[in-house]
Amino acid sequence: MIRIPRVLVGIRAQLLLVSLFLLFIPLIGFRFVMDMQSYLRTGQQQVLVSAAHLLSATLSDRPQLMPRELALQSGEEEERRRLVALFGSSDPETASSLGAAYQPSEEIERILAVVAKNASRIWVVDARSRVRGLSGNLSVADAPSAPTTGIQTVLRHLIRPLMNSFFPAGPASVVADDPALAERAVMSQVDRALNGEPTQLWRYAKDMHTVVLSAAQPIWSGDEIVGAVVVEESAGGNQAITVAALESLLTTSLVVFLVGGLALILFASRLTYRVERLRMDADRAIDAHGRITGAIAGSRSRDEIGALARTLEEVLHRLARYNAYLEQMASRLAHELRTPVAVVRSSLDNLRHADMARSERIYIERADEGVKRLSLLIARMSEAAQLEGILQGSEKEYFDLAAVVSGCVDGYRLVYPSAQFEFSRPSNPIMIKGLPDAIAQLLDKLIQNATDFAAPDTAIVTSVFTESGDALLTVENRGPAISAAVLPTLFTSMVSAREHGGNQHSHLGLGLYIVRLIADFHGGDVSASNLRDNSGVRFEFRIPLG
């Protein structure tokens, strides 16, 4: 399985991924701006076409303005190319540079002056592409101003390809911003007009910023084409509005993205932090043994995470109550059992004094034996229950662990004459802080456990030593291994790893529970493990050196 870093699948990353949908908002805005521009252009185009139409109609009424007799002069073709280049370049200074190709007719220019308006230029050419009339010039004043700031430059660079890529969807295509191509396009426009085909063309002006719209219309005289009208208008105004709108759209989007993204990251971080803190609290609250070691601080915030924290806190409290109930179970049971045991015991004691046959007395003795065992069990149960109270009420002292263990092992040799004990006392004292009585009791329980399980004729090995700032007390015995399933719960109340209960020893699984209580009280740790070759069991009690 591939491990994915948590950062990549975390709430922050997920929120950022979801927020990518926000990108659609500027996209929609852009689309809207482009649509608006395209409407404006369509309108402009229609106006221009109708202007061209009107002009051609006006001029077609005056065939005398387009005399055919004007003879071709040498180099005419050359002139024609130059003329067309001028068309294409949209140079405001056109008239002065037209030279021989400019053969204006006063009449035509008068008519044109009437029709001309600001930021537009009208040409009238005769069938031989000689300019018979020219009016107005393509002002670029309304074109978008040149970028003034770095950000604007960046924005323009962003906008330009966007606008271009969206133009094909517009009313007419803009000729690519290559002057040579524009020139060819204009030539073909004039040619096509002279062939009787009205055309419209969008192209870039010479300055490469302004978009120019030109409409060409043939001038008919009867069935004959006598010339063409070309009306040009700069779309600078529209374009400026569009660019400004796109700029403001982009700027706003960027700001919204930055602010929104930052807010989202902050929000997600706060969420993550709270969830993470809750997770760590929950993790800390219960230790490896399933004991409740801490509390989850209930959040006061009223949102779902706050509610979750409160629920967890409540769950933990309930669990703690239940755990406490379970741990007190032994004590309660002992307390509750004592009264009925006392009834049975006192009844048996009384019964002994009654007249009874010898055969019947046997049953009394057996019943008494059972009650005594019950009493012993109760005593053991209450031992565990009381221990905690006794430990809390005692004051810790510094003592030599080695000396206590040494004394204990001497005692065990007397108490368990049939068992063998191995212990070598370390030469240096091992000082720890605690209750020597309690440590002796802990060792009692470990030894008791070891003697119960030790294989015949094997020694129980006890050792005391220090290891990295801790004092260690270990008890090893040869004998059956403990199954791995039981190991983690071995030190829990009422859990016994014993497979079959012996008659002399009643096992409630309280001995190792007591060991754990004492270890916990000393801030130490107790663990059990099987020997490497599974030939026995090793118990280890670890406590920081005093």
């Binding site: 004592r338 015991r345 009384n350 009493s375 031992e383 009381q386 221990l387 006794i390």
Partner: protein
């Protein structure tokens, strides 16, 4: 004249069983199930000894209250607490209220009767001069076995019957280690290791109260206790 023993115990089976056993033991017995009944009877006439359960019906500490009231009426009346509870706190509170002994309910009847007899013997002996053969001298300590009284450096140490027997067991053969089982047997206790430990702790405290330098009881870890010989 027969000694009169009052039993205050809310469990009727136990009450009757104990009453029967005590009657057989040669005592006159009054048995009560409620604290109020017992107090009414005591106001008219005090018994010679009272065996009191701590939890009486709905009163979880009714026995303690009763003990306090009885002690107020008589300073010498022997009182034994009999309870299903065996926590240290209960034992200490019971003894602090002036009870002479504290036994848990799983004590056997012969043991209970032996304790009662011992308390009566102590009461009687206090009225008579001490007899030399019943007195044990161990260094600074004197044990009067008849009166169950102990003195250390000529000052009385007030011990319960249980504690007296433990001290007696330790001092009978000073220097010998007595393990927990032996101590229990001597004190006729059915208790666990913790109770022995806390009994020894209390005994030490009582001696320390009369002599700050008392250090005669030695703990032999894993084995038991020993009375030091000088």
């Amino acid at each position: 004249m027969l000694k009169r023993i009052a039993i205050v115990e809310d469990d009727s089976s136990i009450r009757k069983n104990y009453a029967d056993a005590l009657v057989r033991g040669g005592y006159e017995v009054e048995a009560f199930g409620l604290r109020s009944d017992a107090m009414n009877a005591f106001r008219t006439r005090l018994p010679d000894l009272a065996v009191i359960d701590i939890g009486l019906g709905s009163e979880t500490d009714g026995g303690f209250t009763l003990c306090r009231e009885l002690r107020a009426m008589s300073a010498t009346l022997p009182i034994i607490f009999l309870s299903a509870r065996d926590s240290d706190i209960d034992i200490v509170s019971g003894l602090r209220l002036g009870a002479d002994d504290y036994v848990t309910k799983d004590v056997s009847l012969p043991h209970l009767i032996a304790r009662i007899a011992a308390l009566f013997r102590r009461l009687d002996a206090l009225r008579q001069p001490a007899r030399a053969e019943d007195v044990l001298h161990r260094g600074d300590m004197t044990l009067d076995i008849n009166r169950l009284a102990v003195s250390w450096k000529a000052r009385d140490v007030v011990l319960t019957v249980t504690e007296f027997w433990m001290v007696h067991a330790l001092t009978k053969f000073p220097g010998h280690v007595k393990n927990r089982d032996q101590l229990m047997r001597e004190a006729e206790l059915v208790v666990d290791d913790n109770t022995i430990t806390s009994h020894m702790k209390r005994i030490r405290k009582k001696f320390l109260a009369v002599d700050q330098d008392f250090d005669e009881i030695e703990t032999i870890y894993g084995m038991g206790y020993r009375w030091k010989t000088n």
